[in-house]
């Protein structure tokens, strides 16, 4: 399965240019979409799930225009939107059953079995009879994930899925997605601003900024871009205040007589700086701040 995005533009009626000439190819496996808030990730997702029409450009799924074949696309689609809080007055299992029925599962007995299996998978079986509106934020998110995955969709699009989940739940969710992405002919598109989610799960990724595609490739390639630009050093409180103005400080750990900091910089900083191996978080900050000069307020 393959998604081709060609010259995609979206301009909202208020004049906001949310997407600018996006060209992307997404193949089977897990694909990450990364970018700061307002980068256009959600707009791209909403176009891919056929909820929003692009102003110009085309999205092809296996060569077919998704806008002209909406029903076919929706048959194989599982979608979790960014906002997923307010439910109709349905119980947890009922909401999932409703989603499963509309996903094409007609046999009630099989559907209910699948509903319970999914609830168990996301750890909500104990609250299956609780009103969905009465679930906690993390539980609602998990229910969202369950409804996106029910019915064995071939195209799974999840927008900020791990927001509001605790570390255990995040790991569990990542593992569910990783397992699914091993299946043949399944595309999973994961949009997030949590950089760690991308590095641990995605084979390919794209970086969006202000509606433009600024990076497209493997997460390792993004990390390679930051090699030689990440440093660790110990600073006194006075030096730390000065460094904050000069460098992008990624992490700060209090140590005896000051701070141990990690810095992203084009040139090695003066003093006791030691170069360290970058991770994707470093790479993201380096790429955004130093390559394309986007202001992340780091």
């Amino acid at each position: 399965m393959k998604i081709e995005i060609r010259d995609l533009n979206k301009i909202y009626p208020n004049g906001t240019h949310a997407l600018k000439n996006i060209n992307l190819v997404i193949e089977s496996g897990m694909f990450g979409l990364l970018g700061p808030n307002g980068a256009g990730k959600s707009t791209l997702m909403r176009i891919l799930v056929t909820l929003v029409k692009p102003t110009s450009g085309i999205v092809l799924l296996d060569g077919k225009d998704i806008q002209k074949h909406r029903k076919e696309v929706r048959k194989i689609l599982g979608y979790l939107p960014q906002d997923f809080r307010f439910f109709t007055s349905l119980k947890t299992w009922e909401f999932l059953d409703y989603s499963a029925a509309l996903a094409g599962m007609k046999n009630r007995k099989e559907r209910l079995k699948e509903v319970d299996r999914m609830l168990d998978q996301v750890g909500l079986l104990e609250v299956r009879d609780r009103n969905a509106n009465k679930l906690s934020g993390g539980m609602k998110r998990r229910l969202g994930i369950a409804q996106a995955l029910i019915g064995n969709p071939k195209l799974i699009i999840v927008d900020e899925p791990t927001t509001g989940l605790d570390p255990d739940e995040r790991i569990r969710f990542r593992n569910i997605l990783s397992t699914l992405s091993q299946k043949q002919d399944v595309i999973i598109i994961l949009s997030t601003h949590i950089v760690g989610d991308i590095s641990s799960t995605c084979q390919n990724m794209a970086l969006l900024n202000k509606g433009e595609l600024v990076f497209y490739g493997r997460p390792e390639n993004l990390v390679n871009e930051a090699k030689g630009h990440v440093f660790k050093m110990n600073l006194t409180p006075y030096e730390y205040e000065k460094a904050k103005e000069e460098y992008d400080i990624i992490s700060t750990i209090p140590v005896e007589n000051g701070w141990e900091v990690q810095i992203v910089s084009d040139l090695p900083p003066d003093g006791n700086a030691v170069e360290i191996e970058p991770n994707i978080e470093h790479a993201y900050v380096y790429y955004m701040e130093h390559k394309i000069h986007a202001d992340l307020n780091v």
Binding site: L51, Y79, S99
Partner: protein
């Protein structure tokens, strides 16, 4: 058959959701109370029953359904005109829009759900 399955699914859950709203519950309980009182007043010796009401067997269901329909018509129009607006406030409904359901199936299902629920109310009376 998918067409029918989608309509019936939407109708089933629309009826279920509506049945759980306070608006519908108050209407149903209110209608039950008013009609009980009205029946006692119109058809029993407690009230001032007229001979036409008592002697014509169909008078009781006719009057009840006639009056209930007037009330229901107002409520159904109010509910039916509002359901898409109500949906927009519920962000989770968006995921149902991305399912393989046409606009026609969705709106028909919603309408059928509302009508089904009121039909049950009518059967009760």
């Amino acid at each position: 058959m998918t067409f029918l399955h989608n309509i019936l699914t939407v109708a089933h859950y629309e009826a279920k959701t509506l049945r759980r709203t306070w608006f519908f519950r108050l209407f149903a309980i209110g209608a039950l109370f008013i009609f009980t009182m009205l029946n006692i007043g119109l058809f029993s010796p407690v009230g001032a029953e007229s001979w036409e009401m008592v002697s014509i067997p169909s008078a009781l269901p006719l009057i009840n359904l006639y009056l209930l329909n007037i009330g229901q018509a107002v409520v159904v129009i109010f509910l039916a005109s509002d359901f898409l607006k109500r949906d927009k406030k519920l962000d989770t409904v968006e995921v149902l829009y991305t399912r393989s359901v046409s606009n026609f199936e969705y709106v028909t299902g919603k309408t059928l759900g509302i009508l089904r629920l009121f039909l049950h109310l009518m059967l009760l009376f």
